[in-house]
Symmetry: C2
Subunit: 404 residues, 2 copies
């Protein structure tokens, strides 16, 4: 069970955004595995995609479609990632878009495809086409919770978040769902996130807003350091509230903060549901000369198998955290100036273990299920926060199991 | 048990190099934990050390001593890493050198200290001083096998290698031992290697020879990506054979090859004995534009927990290897030109799974205990080979156990 999971929160409908879910039997008969999302014709859309050079066919197709037309539909399937499938995979992704387009009466380029599941198997196009009418018939504004289940693969819990925010003399709503557990599962690929708002936001600004929110949320989490071939995060702005969020307006930062909050909640939910995770670890690095060196330190800690197994064991092994900071490659680091806190306990100061540190203090923090590590580099003003989880027997079990 | 271990090979004595081992009771009573190595007065010495910014006290002291005097003794203790110990740790390392110097009648700067074991505990100086006479009394040319045991911590097997090589109309000998299992153990630190030859080699050339050998051996292995605070590799050339290896001579490349072979054998032995290792994985990347991009790809594969758990499970999960290549950050990679082989089987070609690949072929390779992955980038002439091991339940168990 995911760390600190207390049930899917209420997911507020977004005017101008409808969702329909169906069971296409792609991998498991009867499982919800096909989701269609419909954007109002006036909606704008932004997206961020995996930087993996071997990106999956749907990612390639989605990018091309976004560049050539405004987006009216997201077509999402689980059970098959359509990744590592070469040119036939691209054709299959195109055909799935064409099938939905024909059904709803739009152009294929107005449909963006997203796939998650087994890598390297042909996309079962006929099953998807057969289930599309069921999904489009179900299109409704209150389909979010259903979709939060419909996009899962090996996740143990659904992930969603809603926020209302006061802007422009009224109120706009942001709702999002996400899936992801390991960055790649034994042939299961992917983090996917779909966020919509009823604010009206012009496309360039929307893409910029999504970029900044992703930078502080989905791009700040790591389960095992493996970037999937299918990662995608989409943001749609329907304008259904009648309220515009404009560049340079006072409302912009209010909206940006709320959007980032939604993305952070979804990103954290992915880490909480990380493969084999028993703990949520927040790694904060402050006092860096620039963001890059803060990232270096934060990810060196967050990716270290030794640090992660120590968290699993609730072992306050400060030497491993110190060693990770030391090997992060920060130039001219003044070791005597670095301090490291584990929760509220100072573990490293003056180039070694803090003189007043006691093992008992460390154990008290380590016993918690949500733990923060804060590294103060004391050489600048840059700061970064990333989230990760611990490394358990179950991680090995889940990832060593034969593909079935 | 280490992968493919068939016993410690015969370790040939080196004229001008004597070894004495003692039990100081530093951590475990009765265990061999103190090793003294004596270099002939005419010997030259070279060293490479950890690049971890938080390097341990003995590493700092060894660097200073090497710069200020020629080296006559290596003083090695296990059971305590003298790392994360601040200024008192530096003083303790200095004092241990002074104690040996007083006993044998040399200057303290002619002694280099090396420590491995628990991090953050004060070095038990009195125990070391008390056992030094036992170690120096035992000094003998045939102490290599004893020392191979005496430098171990959590290693499951001793590691050593000898080569004879014909140069200068005669024969010189190279013998080395190493220790290391995880890059850092739950407070256990370190990879250490000590290599000696009876060739005579001038200091600058010796350092250059060691640098190139280490680059192709110890710097090409990874168990978990964690660089320890204590890593050191030393090379002594005693001149005891009466044969000089000189810069620009035909013998130089012969000697270099033999030295690299010894270092490779020791480095591989460390990976074979990696924590929880059940398989030795050789990752070869060819056809890169430069060594750096080959390294990026090789280490992305070698560090991927998903790839490593798949090897543990003997699962030919080509999608994970492909995804690791894709996220390695190689610019403008032509995916359709990349080929990936698992052993003798082509698993990836034309941007996806090789059309003629069968799961049965993959399983056959994966069933072996020594496996190679070869990635051909097809964009240049650079190549790199690294070694790693798989990622098992035992890795988590060993590293999650409470420190005891």
């Amino acid at each position: 069970m995911a760390v600190g999971f207390t049930g899917l929160p209420e997911l507020l409908p977004i005017r101008g955004f409808r969702i329909g879910v169906a069971s296409a039997g792609i991998k498991t008969p009867g499982r919800r595995d096909l989701v269609v999302m419909e954007l109002a014709s006036a909606a704008t859309c932004a997206g961020t995609f995996t930087r993996n050079a071997f990106c999956a066919a749907p990612v390639s197709v989605a990018k091309v479609h976004m560049a050539s037309a405004s987006t009216r539909y997201f077509l999402i399937n689980t059970g098959n990632a359509n990744a590592g499938t070469g040119r036939p995979g691209l054709a299959a992704a195109e055909q799935s878009c064409a099938a939905l387009a024909a059904l709803v009466g739009c152009r294929p380029e107005e449909v963006l495809p997203f796939s998650t599941g087994v890598i390297g198997e042909p996309l079962p196009l006929q099953k998807i086409e057969a289930a599309l009418p069921q999904a489009t018939a179900a299109l409704a504004a209150d389909g979010w919770a259903d979709a939060a289940h419909g996009i899962l693969t090996t996740d143990t819990v659904p992930k969603g978040c809603s926020r209302r925010v006061a802007v422009g003399g009224g109120e706009v709503t942001i709702t999002g769902i996400a899936k992801g557990s390991g960055m790649i599962r034994p042939d299961m690929a992917t983090m996917l996130a779909f966020v919509a708002t009823d604010a009206g936001i012009e496309t360039t600004l929307l893409q910029q807003l999504l970029g900044s929110a992703v930078r502080h949320s989905f791009n700040r989490i790591t389960v095992d350091g493996d970037t999937s071939t299918n990662d995608s995060c989409m943001l749609a702005a329907t304008g259904g509230s009648g309220i515009e969020v404009r560049s340079g307006s006072a409302d912009l930062e209010t909206f940006r903060a709320a959007l980032t909050e939604v993305c952070e909640a979804l990103a954290q939910a992915i880490v909480r549901d990380g493969e084999g995770a028993t703990k949520l670890i927040t790694v904060e690095v402050t006092g860096g000369r620039d963001v890059e060196e803060c990232e270096q330190v934060a990810y060196t800690i967050a990716h270290s198998p030794l640090v992660k197994t120590a968290f699993f064991a609730s072992d306050p092994n400060w030497g491993r955290i110190l060693a990770a900071v030391g090997r992060a490659g920060v130039r001219d680091l003044d070791l005597d100036a670095v301090t490291i806190h584990l929760g509220d306990v100072c573990i490293v100061r003056d180039g070694g273990r803090a003189p007043d540190y006691t093992e008992e203090q460390g154990r008290r923090v380590m016993a918690q299920s949500e733990i923060s590590v804060c590294v103060a580099l004391a050489r600048g003003d840059a700061a970064v926060r990333v989230w990760t989880c611990d490394f358990s027997y179950d991680y090995v079990r889940i990832n060593a199991e034969y593909r079935t």
